[in-house]
């Protein structure tokens, strides 16, 4: 039986998460279909068709799906679900939102946020903020899975596979899109960036986050934050890294004025190299840092920018 991956997209562009979800699916089987449900499906479908291992892309054109409305998206997925042995989505705010709805409508349990595929029915996933790794087996015939993007290397490229479209009348009378406040940034996305520099409460205010800009420019980095920095209103919510924010694993993660609470570590401790800048030599962040610099961030950030 084929496997289905639900494409992650924004504004007509396929997100890198999808090639990672495909990589997870390829560990289970090799007949992989991708569903693109959006308003402007063509560019997204073109990209999805070129992900190595995808045998068919199915498109569905719909405004509600463009806005990632769980009620609309789950209704579409439901209409084709029984053709598949597994359905995968990325564990993004979209995947986390619609997938459990699909699961319940199908009377199936879901396995969330997998970091490894052991076999077609057995998966590894972090629990307790990543302080334990559970191996879980699904006894369901149809398996519904969300994939932690940072744990899988994206599947490569291929020449485009077949694209077909789906007819369906969406039944969603309970929810509608009202508005979106999208954070505009020239920088790479947190979950796709090779380098991340994050600020915490130690930054003291939102203006001081500008001290990270020059360094981020030089390193091509994304800028992240701790919960404390977001709660205090220094920066928007979409910058939060952690157990309950974004999970990242860049080549280089620089934590500035962040103490290293369990919940923050849960979101970044799989980074390849971690640098911590903190004036408290006992800060927990130093226990996971490859390179620690015990110093006042207001002294060293300008120096660091100059030295790069």
């Amino acid at each position: 039986m084929a496997l289905l991956v639900i494409a992650e997209h924004e504004n007509g562009v396929l997100k890198p998460d999808t090639a990672k979800a495909v990589a997870a699916a390829l560990k289970v089987g090799n007949d992989i279909h991708v569903l693109v449900a959006a308003a402007n499906v063509d560019p997204i479908a073109q990209s999805a068709a070129q992900i190595d291992g995808v045998s068919k892309v199915v498109t569905f054109t719909d405004e509600g799906c463009e806005q990632h409305l769980a009620e609309s998206l789950s209704d579409v997925v439901l209409s084709i679900a029984n053709n598949y042995s597994h359905i995968f989505a990325s564990a993004t705010t979209t995947g986390k939102n619609f997938m459990p709805r699909v699961a319940a409508l199908l009377d199936k349990s879901q396995i969330s946020d997998i970091i490894d595929v052991v076999s077609a029915d057995t998966f590894k996933r972090p629990i307790y903020a990543g302080n334990a790794i559970a191996t879980v087996q699904s006894n369901e015939e149809l398996k519904l899975i969300t994939v932690r993007s940072s744990a899988f290397d994206a599947s490569g490229e291929q020449s485009a596979c077949e694209i077909s479209s789906l007819e369906h009348n969406v039944n969603n009378t309970v929810s509608h899109f009202v508005s979106a406040e999208v954070t505009e940034s020239e920088r790479p996305e947190l979950t796709a960036a090779p380098v991340i520099i994050s600020g915490g409460r130690g930054m003291q205010n939102g203006d001081n986050f500008a001290l990270l800009n020059g360094i981020a420019d030089k390193l091509g980095a994304a800028i992240g934050a701790s919960r404390a920095a977001v709660d205090a209103g220094f920066v928007p919510n979409d910058m939060q890294v952690g157990q309950t924010g974004k999970i990242v694993a860049p080549d280089l993660y620089i934590a500035v004025g962040i103490s290293g609470a369990i919940q923050h570590l849960a979101g970044m401790k799989d980074s390849k190299v971690i640098v911590a800048i903190n004036k408290d030599p006992d800060a927990a962040i130093f226990q996971v840092a490859d390179y620690g610099l015990v110093a006042d961030l207001f002294d060293v950030l300008p120096e660091l920018e100059a030295a790069l």
Binding site: L69, K96, P100, Q110, I133, V174, A180, T244, L304
Partner: protein, 249 residues
């Protein structure tokens, strides 16, 4: 309008868990337990809606053994009006929790059900969405703002790209994110008063849900440990190490 708030008893968020010696689960013996932080935010939101005159009754429910009475009493002390304990084995699949809650919603007919977006133990982030699905209701997940108006609810959601606002027909399900509110602390007089508020226990069996597990926990392991690295003297040393040793810049 009635609001139902399901709450979960979990390990205190400050405690770091350990995997037990036979790798079958984590060791929760003598561990400090508390209400899941996202559920606290849900309780707070319901109480604020009542204080603002938008709701008339706040009912809290928890599923588990008798120990959950502690969290239910906490919710009552914070301002919930009455509590329901669904007596069941711990460690149910989210689907089963959602099914039990759906039965309760059928009985209680709340116009709004507010849950935490995820429990900090299993980190599943499923129950609210599943409950909404089973009830055929709309779902406003990861909420940072909830506004009731004219038979519907506007929910502003924390999403990966920023914020999104959706409108949902009532009755509906909302799940809370961190920025929705800052929960209050229970005062001593309210803790005393809570002891006299109604707390009813019903058995999960009486709700007629098949609770046969669909997911088997095979093993629990420690994550791979990171070794603490070195402390560098200054920025120059840091930059040089990143270039020549780590080769990441």
């Amino acid at each position: 309008m009635k609001i139902l708030v399901p709450v979960k008893r979990v390990i205190d968020y400050n405690v770091k868990v350990r995997v037990n010696s036979d790798n079958t689960n984590v060791d929760l013996n003598n561990t400090k337990m508390a209400m899941n932080p996202f559920c606290e935010i849900a309780v707070e939101e319901a109480i604020r809606l009542k204080e603002a005159g938008n709701a008339t009754e706040v009912v809290v429910v928890s599923i588990g053994d008798k120990a959950v009475h502690e969290q239910l009493r906490t919710a009552l002390a914070l301002g919930a009006d009455r509590a329901i304990h669904i007596d069941a084995a711990q460690n149910l699949d989210s689907l089963h929790v959602a099914k039990l809650l759906a039965k309760l919603v059928e009985q209680e007919q709340p116009e709004l059900t507010i849950l935490g977006k995820q429990a900090i133990d299993s980190d599943n982030n499923q129950t609210g969405q599943m409950l909404a699905a089973l009830l055929g209701q709309g779902q406003g997940t990861f909420a940072s703002k909830v506004e009731l108006n004219d038979g519907k609810v506007l929910v502003t959601r924390e999403v990966d790209g920023g914020l999104q606002t959706v409108g949902l027909a009532l009755p509906a399900v909302v799940t809370t994110d961190l920025r929705l509110n800052e929960p209050r602390y229970a005062t001593l007089p309210n803790i005393m008063k809570a002891k006299r508020k109604p707390l009813e226990t019903i058995s999960a069996d009486s709700l007629g849900v098949d609770l046969t597990p669909r997911v088997t926990l095979l093993k629990v392991e420690e994550p791979s440990k990171r070794e603490a690295g070195v402390i560098v003297e200054d920025v120059a040393e840091l930059v040089s190490k990143l270039k020549t040793e780590a080769k990441v810049i």
